[in-house]
């Protein structure tokens, strides 16, 4: 084994073009386009700790298939393209709307492309703009998204970070459709280019546009085709149903201000029942919350007020979750929540007949949502700060 590793398949690291992220796109004539972001290993390992801008470079190539496009990319790279360290693979909106299946077939078939890589869709018709975006402390887009996937879910549930394996698993499931990370490239006019010399006019010339990457929402798929997008709040509702809840905060407006709830735990239970041909799905969400902030004048020590706050929290979340489910049912006609898996589990006999046209059944399913919450703690002060002040 050791002797073979030094033989035919050997490539010295210095000859590897390590791809950090890539975009699969398609043009109007159906040709596949790939944008590869390479990690400059020499730069990344330099004294600046690998944080220097420009330690990555990107190239674009075309072909009749994703594999051919990547092979064609080799014509403009002086290294052997190495995909073993992909951090994220993106689909352009255009390709995702056609179908990601041919690309996934290549990804799963190829030796070097593994399933741990994050999978996402870039909104808009110029996906390559992502490589012009500000990357904050990261040096490559791949690292930027990967780092974000580690820490964002701890503070916000407004995005999803599925891996290729998650996507493929859901794709193969009869009762669930896959979702992907949604990335949007937006202009960032407030920032000026770092270290950019604006010429002799003292910076009065035409200002170069800055872009930033926004990871919010999700891309919903149906049979490998992009069905639509969820916005941040809908994605949060999706995460609640998926039981993917971390310590996040939700602001609920009240009569005198806003109450910020910190969610410390949640549980979603799904029960399904059959009423003739009609499928009924009950989604029960239970939350444990804390009061993280109160900007109004609510006396949070009062049990009645607490009850009111809980009710307004429940109402807000019920509305959010119902809205998300309705969108998936009516707009996407795609069961991204995996209710089909619950039907399969709870009514296996009936599932045999309905699994082939589950999307149709899901569209017509009667789905009810109920939310229960309990405020357990309200922080280290007993009254709103403002209330306390006026009392003096």
């Amino acid at each position: 084994m050791l002797s073979l590793s030094g033989c035919w398949s050997r490539i010295e690291p210095k000859y590897l073009g390590i791809v950090n992220s890539l975009i699969y796109d398609v043009d109007d004539e159906g040709k596949f386009i790939v944008h590869l972001e390479f990690l400059n290993a020499a730069d990344a390992g330099s004294g600046d700790g690998g944080k220097s801008k420009g330690s990555n470079y990107t190239i674009r190539a075309m072909g009749d298939s994703p594999r051919e496009a990547i092979a064609n990319a080799s014509q403009s790279v002086d290294r052997s393209i190495f995909g073993g360290h992909y951090k994220v693979r993106f689909f352009s909106e255009k390709l995702a709307k056609q179908s990601v299946n041919p690309t996934l077939d290549y990804i799963l078939r190829a030796k070097i492309t593994d399933e741990t890589t994050l999978i996402g869709v870039i909104k808009g018709d110029k996906p390559e703009k992502i490589y012009e975006a500000t990357l904050d402390l990261s040096d490559t887009v791949g690292n930027y998204i990967e780092t974000m996937s580690r820490f964002l879910p701890d503070s916000s549930l407004k995005a999803v970070f599925p891996t290729t394996l998650d996507f493929v698993r859901d794709y193969y499931s009869d009762g669930k459709q896959p979702v992907a990370l949604l990335v949007e490239i937006v202009e960032n006019p407030s920032q000026t280019p770092k270290g950019e010399d604006k010429g002799g006019d003292g910076g009065k010339g035409e200002e170069k546009k800055e872009y930033k990457i926004v990871c919010e929402g999700l891309a919903a798929f149906k049979d490998g085709v992009l069905a639509g997008y969820f916005n941040g709040e809908e994605t949060r509702a999706y995460n609640f149903i998926m039981n993917k809840v971390h310590n996040i905060h939700i602001t609920v407006p009240s009569e005198t201000g806003n109450t910020v709830f910190g969610i410390t735990g949640s549980k979603c239970k799904v029960k399904t029942s059959m009423d003739g041909d009609k499928i009924k799905i009950d989604v029960k969400l239970k939350f444990n919350t804390n009061i993280a902030a109160e900007t109004g004048e609510i006396e949070i020590n009062d049990p009645k007020e607490i009850k009111k706050l809980e009710e307004s929290f429940n109402e807000k979340l019920k509305k959010d979750v119902e809205g998300a489910i309705k969108k998936a049912q009516q707009e996407f006609e795609s069961d991204i929540f995996g209710f089909g898996e619950f039907v399969h589990d709870q009514h296996p006999k009936e599932w045999r007949d309905m699994k082939k046209d589950w999307d149709e059944k899901f569209k017509e399913a009667e789905i009810s949502v109920s939310v229960e919450s309990r405020i357990r703690r309200y922080g280290e002060i007993k009254r709103p700060f403002r209330y306390e002040e006026e009392d003096k």
Binding site: M1, L4, W8, E115, D345, Q346
Partner: protein, 379 residues
């Protein structure tokens, strides 16, 4: 008649369970046998019962002919001519297993590890090690098993524990709702029919101390195999999902690619490969030895050693025949359409015939056995 007991019961347990673990570790055929769904783990439990059932004839023969070699046993029961003929069937079977295993191993290495390395390069490297172990004989193979098999068991347990956080136990639901009882039995039967390692037991039992209880050792070997198989199967389907696992060539390897821990332990599949490769070599050495050993018995050669290299060369040539070295041929060879039906006659059909003949000629055989023992004692 008693030969030097240079194989311990533990070595035999490791040899048989290790050899049997190569296939689930490599391509997990149970995922594609009926019912091919989330109940596959129950099929595995049922498989154990079928394994015991199918292996009864061979176990009875093994128990009754302790101390006799493979060829001697057959010739004692069936007579010289039919005994040799029967042994020849087994030689062909061992040669088939040896070649099929070599093809599967080289394809796995080609697909997942060294895509640019030609098959002949892989086979030469494999065969050098295999020839060495097989040439040195049963003792060396037994000792190798005590090194390789504990390592593989350690990796199986480690991968299981490290993957716990990624496992979705909901994959196993609904339990027994989508499977027909008959399909589960067919699946269990076909999986059990693939387990040909009882022949290793039969062949190597002659090297074990006669005080060792063969049945207990056999049960230990089967349970070692079954528990480890379960620890391979469960995480694979719980992490990859049954449907994706079914279409992967090597689902367990794909599973180990997902394993990571503590934020820095990544690319753990390298450990899988490092453990798997020696185990595959162990299996190949076993089969090479068995072909050489039984064939030397048929032709009356003093030692198996002169057959080790020719057998390896034969396997090498067969593997390089263009039609053999294709994914579709390998898929056919390992599929439920071929493999269990090649194995079944050898592990059950022929031993059953031998057992029936044994019971018919029991008095004569017992007498011959006694004479042999007396002769051996006289010497």
């Amino acid at each position: 008649m008693k030969k030097k007991p240079f194989i311990t019961a533990l070595q035999l347990v490791f040899m048989t369970s290790g050899s049997a673990l190569v296939f689930p570790y490599t391509f997990m055929p149970i995922l594609n046998t009926p019912p091919s769904n989330q109940d596959v783990w129950i099929v595995l439990i049922m498989t154990i019962a079928y394994m015991f059932l199918l292996n009864i004839p061979l176990l009875v023969i093994t128990n009754n002919f302790r101390g006799l070699s493979f060829n001697e046993t057959f010739e004692m029961i069936l007579g010289k001519f039919f005994g040799k003929l029967m042994a020849l069937f087994y030689v062909l079977f061992f040669a088939y297993c040896f070649t099929a295993c070599m093809l599967i191993v080289s394809m796995f290495i080609n697909l997942y590890l060294f895509p640019d390395t030609p098959t002949w390069g892989l086979l030469v490297t494999i065969l050098i090690a295999v020839c060495y172990a097989a040439y040195n004989g049963a003792g060396t193979i037994g000792r190798l098993s005590t090194i390789f098999v504990p390592i593989i068991i350690f990796t199986i347990v480690t991968f299981f524990l490290m993957g716990l956080g990624k496992m979705d136990w909901g994959v196993l639901r609904p339990v027994l709702a989508d499977s027909k009882f008959i399909d589960m039995n067919i699946g269990a039967f076909l999986t059990a029919a693939r387990y040909s390692e009882t022949i290793i037991f039969f062949l190597f039992a002659q090297y074990i101390d006669e005080k060792v209880n063969i049945n207990k050792t056999y049960i230990r070997a089967v349970l070692t195999f079954a528990v480890n198989f379960m620890l391979i199967l469960l995480p694979t389907i719980l992490v990859l999902g049954v449907d994706f696992a079914r279409i992967a060539w090597n689902p367990y390897y794909v599973y180990t690619r997902q394993v990571e821990a503590l934020g820095f332990l990544e690319r753990m599949q390298a450990i899988n490969t490092l453990a798997w490769f020696p185990l595959a070599l162990l299996k190949l050495s076993l089969y090479n030895y068995m072909v050489s050993h039984v064939f030397s018995g048929i032709v009356g050669a003093k030692s198996h050693k002169s057959f080790v290299i020719p057998v390896s060369l034969l396997g090498f040539i067969v593997c390089l025949i263009p039609i053999m070295d294709t994914s579709s041929t390998i898929e056919l060879l390992r599929s439920d359409r071929i493999f269990p039906f090649v194995t079944l006659p050898v592990i059950f059909g022929l031993p059953l015939i031998i057992l029936i003949v044994y019971f018919i000629r029991k008095k004569k055989i017992k007498l011959a056995l006694r004479r042999r023992q007396q002769k051996a004692a006289g010497q």
